[in-house]
């Protein structure tokens, strides 16, 4: 059977990052700098993507700007006919480099914010990044490219979402993405500090609805709900091996960010195989593609063509079985695991106060048991 070609590439070009966000979805075991793909290897990948008819290349990490050859990589993706999207913290970007990226063909920049309040933002990021991001937003608006502001929300900042939306509005993006933390990697480790209460979520949903109405035609608002509170699971990656390919810094080709947590799967590397071969033939891509693998209640569920059984990595992380129905689903046999986490989150309305420090090491100490900051690969 010929599988329809993928639509987009997620290029995780490095795991290095100047920020230490407590909700980072990167794996706890990160790729070392010495094993990263070279400029030429990435450009060859983009050429293959173009030939496969793929449309978008999303540059992410870590922090993509940590690669000194980012401009060349963007130019390479652009030459291959791909729409280029840079997902960034903005650290390492100022006027001249942005101009070079735009000249290289960058179509869209997605800048992350951790909060509207400087002290809280720097506390969540584990770095003094907030003021620079505001300055950079002003510079971005002086260039001709699409601008999205991304805000990750969670228990510690969700109470002032309306204030954060008003803050983003002033930065004049075309689009704002308000995304709840998804519980993988560092975020799963820190879940107790990040999972909101039901009341917090309800207030946030109202704030988003009001903003959508007020900003219609000016700023598009995209909202990612926390799947723990949803009735049905998210259609993770639009279905396993169905629309997207992710390439990690070392060249491994994965169906999603977290796939390496699933034991027993091995992932081919672009250093050894063509993308087309991997997409069509990789046993890991085939493992959860389609409906053959599905257990009940997914197999006979009306939702299965919408959510594809939810997220395989979440199933593994929460139940130990990657074939299980995503426990976020209200119909899942293991839904009690998510319910238990929600019960704990709703047992108190306590949130923490931002902590400041003069160094990252000091901040790590002061965070105590609240959360672990993301660290960097060697």
């Amino acid at each position: 059977m010929i599988i329809p070609n993928p639509l987009a590439l997620i290029a995780e070009i490095t795991h290095r990052c100047p920020l230490h966000c407590v909700y980072c979805s990167n794996p706890l075991e990160m790729a070392a700098v010495s094993s990263e793909l070279s400029t030429e290897e990435w450009i060859d990948v983009f050429q293959q993507c173009g030939k496969l008819g793929m449309l978008h290349a999303h540059f992410t990490g870590g922090e993509p700007l940590a690669r000194p050859d980012l401009t060349e990589l963007i130019a390479g993706a652009c030459a291959a006919g791909l729409y280029t999207n840079l997902i960034t913290s903005g650290i390492g970007l100022a006027e001249a480099r942005l101009q070079a990226l735009v000249d290289a063909g960058l179509d869209h920049i997605q800048l992350s914010f951790q909060d509207s309040r400087e002290e809280a933002a720097n506390w969540i990021a584990g770095a003094k990044a907030h003021a620079h991001k505001i300055e950079l937003s002003r510079i971005i608006r002086g260039h001709k490219l699409a601008f999205t502001v991304n805000l990750v929300i969670h228990r510690q900042n969700i109470d002032h979402l309306a204030e954060m939306i008003a803050f983003i509005e002033q930065l004049s993006p075309e689009r704002m993405e308000i995304a709840h933390t998804q519980y993988y990697g560092w975020a799963l480790k820190n879940r107790a500090a990040l999972l909101p209460t039901r009341a917090q979520l309800d207030t946030a949903v109202e704030a988003v609805a009001a903003a959508e109405k007020r900003l219609a035609g000016r700023i598009r608002v995209d909202f990612v709900v926390p799947d723990y509170y949803a009735r049905f699971p998210k259609a993770c990656m639009g279905g396993w091996g169905r629309r997207l390919m992710l390439i990690n810094p070392t060249g491994k080709v994965l169906p999603c960010h977290a796939a390496e947590v699933i034991p027993g799967l091995s992932f081919e590397n672009v250093r050894d195989w063509s993308l087309e071969f991997i997409w069509q033939q990789s046993s890991s891509f085939q493992r959860f593609r389609g409906e053959e693998w599905m257990p009940e209640p997914c197999r006979s569920c009306d939702q299965r063509a919408q959510d594809f059984g939810g997220c395989r990595c979440q199933a593994l992380l929460l139940t130990g079985n990657p074939e299980a129905t995503d426990p976020a689903c209200s119909l899942a046999p293991a839904h009690h695991i998510v319910e238990a986490a929600l019960a704990e989150a709703n047992s108190s309305t306590e949130i923490s106060q931002p902590v400041a420090a003069t160094s990252f090491v000091q901040l790590q100490k002061r965070a105590g048991e609240l959360w672990s900051y993301r660290t960097n690969p060697e």
């Binding site: 639509l7 008819g53 449309l55 978008h56 006919g81 729409y83 999207n85 179509d107 869209h108 997605q110 001709k144 490219l145 699409a146 601008f147 999205t148 075309e174 689009r175 109405k213 007020r214 219609a216 035609g217 000016r218 700023i219 598009r220 995209d222």
Partner: protein, 98 residues
């Protein structure tokens, strides 16, 4: 400012910043693709005819007149209403500005 307004006759619709046509060779002759930050839409038929005229030069009034002439057996009022609604929806998604 609150909510949305439809295009006026003097509006000059154009693709929003960061939205662009995909490469010609990626689609069949009938179909063209518009790429935007988190996705793409395939356009054919009237939708494509409208968007290809959203060049920031033509006015909404001109676009309507051209398409009414091209589809002379359709109700001109319906053509106007449909195109107006189409552009309003695309503006909401930040794919078109006017």
């Amino acid at each position: 400012m609150n909510g949305m307004t439809p295009p006026e006759d003097s509006s000059q619709p154009r693709l929003a910043t960061g939205c662009r046509w995909g490469a010609e060779n990626k689609a069949s002759n009938e179909e063209r693709m518009i790429l935007f930050p988190e996705g793409a839409i395939k356009l054919q038929g009237t939708g494509r005819q409208v968007l290809e005229r959203c060049d920031g030069q033509r006015t909404f009034g001109q676009i309507i007149t051209e398409l009414q002439a091209q589809f002379s057996d359709a109700d001109p009022a319906k053509i106007r209403a449909d195109i107006s609604q189409f552009l309003e929806q695309l503006r909401r998604k930040r794919i078109v500005d006017y």
